[in-house]
């Protein structure tokens, strides 16, 4: 009963029934195996060299056994309870995990293009390959935004397909570039290596990919293509900012300050960006709503209206995006509090970043309530979604630029 039914042919087959179910089980098993490696591996868990271990033979053995064991269990379970084969969670989650695996494979391929070991220097990082992939991602995302806008004015299905596929390409380029960058950070020196979520430049790339991915998921399910013109334009604007960051020398891999050397960073930061990315999509839906509202008010003769989702659908899409972002953002804030408790001695210190996260959270909390209660209707809520994202942007960027605090990772120096 989901959108999967709308697909046909080969991809649909891959995402259905026992193939999807078994793959899902195998992925879960692989994750469990790697977690086991982290906890019980022969050489004790070395937090920051962990990516290395996963991509080594050892990682293959542990993850592979986990995958096999889980797949075996899954077969047994399915013979006893056949309806498991149609489990919705497997069908919904497996494509995401597939995508992740594809990114890992891409990153491994890119790694072949790295310069030789003696050509790699901390002082001049310009020859590292991830930089090139990121540049390609920048171009692709901008191209995608232009295509989506072109699609608004010339709704040919070909243009729409190009827009969508370029957005997908951008996501895979960005994601694999980040993984490659993680790998690269170890090339200088094992001690410098760390997950690529430690400075503004890196999290920006993460943000583009998550925003585009959340949008693409909604597009695929609800055929809301016109919204892409707005979401991908936001992404493209971010891309220009990222290029600027690079040009002022903020793109270098730097060692982690002691405060950031924690596994919390790896979960807290990405989780936050699931929130930010979803809020960006909600903002895109809100903008699309306002534009459509305008077009309808002007007599509704514009040809564009044909490809826009209806006002009600756009309203629902914004809600849907917030429904993804709000729990993620809540969890991220809680994880941040847990980290603060562990690193600084208190889970909440009214640090500007923390406080702005709370403000963002309260604004979207109020948005959700306004939806339920009477008196608030589409247009006001669409504005709310747009304004909420402006507050989010301030929380993300403004706080680092204008206010001081403990969250120095994003500081522009």
């Amino acid at each position: 009963m989901t959108a999967i039914t709308a697909e046909s042919g080969f991809p649909a087959m891959l995402n259905q029934g026992r193939i999807s179910y078994l793959r899902f089980a195998a992925y879960l098993g692989a994750m469990a195996g790697i977690a086991a490696l982290a906890m019980f591996g022969v050489t004790a868990y070395e937090e920051d060299a962990f990516l290395y271990q996963i991509l080594s033979l050892k990682g293959l053995v542990w993850g592979g056994s986990g995958a096999l064991a889980a797949a075996g269990l899954a077969v047994v379970a399915a013979t006893m309870k056949p309806e498991l084969l149609n489990a919705k969670s497997a069908r919904n989650i497996t494509p995401w995990l597939d995508g992740f695996v594809l990114m890992v494979i891409l990153a491994a391929v890119w790694a072949l293009f790295e310069p030789a070991k003696d050509q790699i220097s901390y002082d001049n990082q310009s020859n590292l390959f991830a930089g090139r992939i990121i540049m390609a991602m920048n171009v692709i995302f901008i191209f995608s935004a232009v295509s989506y806008i072109a699609y608004l004015f010339a709704p040919e299905s070909f243009i729409g397909r190009v827009a969508t596929w370029s957005a997908y390409t951008g996501v895979y380029l960005g994601g694999s570039a980040l993984l490659l960058r993680w790998h690269e950070s170890y090339l200088f020196n094992m001690e410098i290596g760390h997950a690529p979520v430690s400075n503004l430049y890196e999290v920006f790339i993460l943000l583009f990919c998550i925003t585009a991915a959340v949008y693409l998921a909604l597009e695929k399910r609800y055929q809301a293509k016109a919204m892409g013109a707005f979401v991908m334009t936001l992404v493209a604007a971010g891309v220009f900012f990222g290029i600027w960051l690079d040009s002022v020398g903020q793109a270098d891999i730097k060692p982690l300050v002691p405060a950031l050397q924690s596994y919390w960073m790896k979960i807290h930061v990405p989780m936050n960006f699931v929130g930010y990315g979803s809020f960006a999509v909600a903002c895109g839906a809100g903008m699309a709503y306002l534009v459509r509202y305008r077009l309808e008010a002007n007599g509704g003769k514009s040809k564009m209206l044909a490809i826009f989702p209806s006002l009600d659908q756009l309203d629902q899409l914004a809600y849907k995006a917030v429904a993804i972002g709000f729990p993620a953002f809540t969890l991220a804030t809680i994880l941040g509090a847990a980290w603060a408790a562990e690193a600084w001695g208190g889970y909440w210190s009214w640090d500007p970043k923390e406080t702005w996260a709370l403000i963002v959270w309260l604004i979207y909390g109020a948005y959700l309530h306004a939806r339920v209660s009477h008196g608030w209707h589409g247009k006001a809520l669409a504005w709310w979604a747009v304004a909420g994202f402006l507050v989010t942007v301030f929380c993300f960027l403004g706080v680092n630029m204008y206010l001081s605090g403990l969250h120095s990772y994003g500081q522009l120096s």
Binding site: Y222, G249, Q261, G345, I359, I363, S373, S404
Partner: protein, 568 residues
């Protein structure tokens, strides 16, 4: 308040207030007010020095802000009152809604009146022949809805098959809203019964008291145990950036050493309910030896031993040195402006303030080693001088001579003497300089000229131009040190913390239930009529209509197909 009902009595008024408290519009207002209020404390730096505030805002605004508590605003009565209102409001809406919701979740009324049927969001009807096997009809729906709960009721000749998914969705609401209450209670417990403060423990010493900010004042609290810092160390990345701050601590409880352990940032120590965190570090009173170069031409070098945070006074000249800091590493960006940054460790340096009769007080950072440039050339000893006393105003001053080499100091004086003898009215010419240097070399080194004496010549020349400009009778340079750090610890106890974590877990679980397990209801109503039987499929969802819309349409299409086989 336009629609306020007429009040008959005081209890009714209270009841009315209670209901308003639990209203959604108040909830929205509270959330928005809370977020707007929170902004203030992020724009206005909190808990700074009062004098800084006074300087920044001037007396009038300072007093206005101070009386509103804006310098520590998250603990003011008015901010806490907003939070209190939020708690009251939550309690009120839970109070009113929970019984209703619990009842609603339990009830699974299967029958639907014809009138109610029209109000469903989704409704589709089929007319089938009277021979249709109604059991097979039901079975086809059950087949399509794996994982749904079914309830069949027959009333008269009508069959009602109700299907539910996510029937417990309202638990999400209950969990989320009670979780906020739990978190706020946990926060209150921490504020009421916990503490958090700092202590600085020099290496080898122990400390028992923490200090913390309390509004605009500093409070103190004695811990039930003592913390001794055995050692503190910093580890560096190859790039020179700090990698790890590590303290080795011993807890002394009741005079006995009970626990010795290392702590680093992100890995605190836990003892008797108190967490001990690595928060900062600094100089813990290192031993400093100065070499004092007397600038009166006497060539004299004397030494002075002192410690960081102490003052040393030279009785002869009246010069006083107040030692403010010592750092064994000084990583500085050596690139010219505009070039890519290039960091280099300039080695140990001591910072002091120098005062003396007739002298302007200055702040000086004196390095122990001469500066070796990128090509490996010794550029001589150097200082950083700040005339304003502000660290931002430090300017490097190259002294010329490598003062770690006693011979260079001798050479310098010999050179000055020979130069004075060779030139009239102190005029320096190239030839005179060369001649004087040669003579000075012979005087100091005899015939064994040291390696690299050409560079020595350059340094000496520079010193001749530089040193006489310094107004001080003595030039104190860092000669030796024995470093002690202090470790800056933060100690905290928070009995409410676990309550907060429980609340947080409830919050996240509740949100997932609320958003991802919507309650969906479907009815299959089979009712005989004149033409055969009428089959209605009706549905509703409490949220997420976009998804449900699509799912319903998929289901309708499938049921259309299924029923087609019956109707023929």
């Amino acid at each position: 308040m336009a629609n306020m009902p007429p009040m008959q009595s005081f209890p009714e008024f209270i009841k009315y207030l209670w209901q308003r408290l639990g209203s959604m519009s108040l909830a929205i207002i509270l959330l928005v007010v809370l977020s707007v209020a929170s902004v203030i404390g992020t724009v206005l730096l909190q808990n700074q020095d009062q004098t800084d505030y006074l300087q920044q805002f001037g007396p009038l605004w300072y007093w206005v802000f101070r009386s509103l508590g804006l310098f520590d605003m998250y603990h003011t009565w008015w901010f806490l009152t907003i939070l209190g209102f939020l708690m009251l409001s939550l309690t009120s809406c839970l109070w009113r809604n929970v019984p209703k919701m619990l009842k609603e979740m339990r009830s699974r009324k299967a029958t639907v009146s014809a009138k109610a049927l029209k109000r469903f969001n989704y409704l589709k009807q089929w007319q089938l022949s009277s021979e249709t096997d109604t059991n097979a009809l039901q079975e086809s729906l059950r087949q399509r809805l794996q994982g749904w709960e079914f309830r069949l009721v027959e009333e008269g000749d009508t069959q009602y098959l109700r299907a539910d998914k996510g029937r417990w969705n309202k638990w999400g609401y209950i969990l989320v809203h009670s979780a906020i209450l739990v978190i706020l209670v946990g926060g209150w417990m921490g504020a009421q019964y916990g503490f958090r403060g700092n202590m600085a423990v020099p290496e080898g010493k122990s400390e028992k008291e923490i200090s913390f900010l309390q509004g605009t004042e500093t409070g103190h609290l004695t811990m039930p145990f003592e913390v001794r810092c055995n050692s503190f160390s910093i580890d560096f990345f190859p790039t020179g950036a700090p990698k790890e701050f590590r303290s080795n601590l011993t807890i002394i409880d009741g005079g006995k050493e009970v626990l010795t352990s290392d702590i680093i940032v992100n890995e605190p120590l836990y003892y008797k309910g108190v967490r001990i965190y690595q928060a900062s570090f600094g100089d813990g009173g290192s031993d400093i030896t100065f070499k004092l170069f007397h600038m009166d031409g006497s060539e004299a070098i004397t030494t002075a031993k002192t410690q960081v945070y102490k003052s040393w006074i030279d009785t002869d000249t009246g010069i006083s040195l107040k030692i403010t800091d010592f750092k064994p590493y000084n990583v500085e960006n050596m690139a010219n402006p505009g070039e890519p940054k290039k960091f280099q460790d300039l080695g140990p340096a001591v910072e002091y303030e120098m005062r003396g009769p007739g002298l302007k007080a200055v702040k000086i950072k004196a390095f122990m080693n001469p500066f070796i440039d990128a090509d490996g050339n010794n550029q001589g000893s150097f200082l950083m001088i700040s005339l304003s006393g502000d660290k931002a105003d430090y300017k490097p001053v190259a002294l010329g001579l490598d003062l770690t080499n006693k011979d260079e100091w001798k050479l310098f004086h010999a050179f000055l003497r020979h130069l004075a003898a060779l030139t009239e009215n102190g005029k320096q010419t190239k030839e005179a300089n060369l001649e004087a240097f040669k003579a000075a070399m012979t005087e100091v080194f005899g015939d064994n000229r040291p390696k690299g004496f050409q560079q020595m010549a350059m340094r000496t020349l520079q010193a001749v131009n530089m040193l006489p400009q310094l107004p001080w009778p003595i030039l104190p340079m860092l000669d030796d040190f024995n470093q002690h750090y202090y470790t800056g610890l933060q100690l905290a106890q928070d009995p409410g913390m676990n309550v907060v974590w429980i609340g947080s877990a409830l919050l996240v679980i509740g949100l997932c239930i609320m958003f991802y397990m919507p309650h969906r209801k479907l009815w299959l109503i089979i009712k005989p009529n004149d033409a055969g039987i009428q089959v209605s499929l009706a549905g509703m969802a409490n949220r997420n209509h976009l998804v449900f819309n699509k799912d319903f349409h998929d289901l309708f299409t499938k049921m259309d197909n299924d029923f087609a086989s019956f109707s023929s």
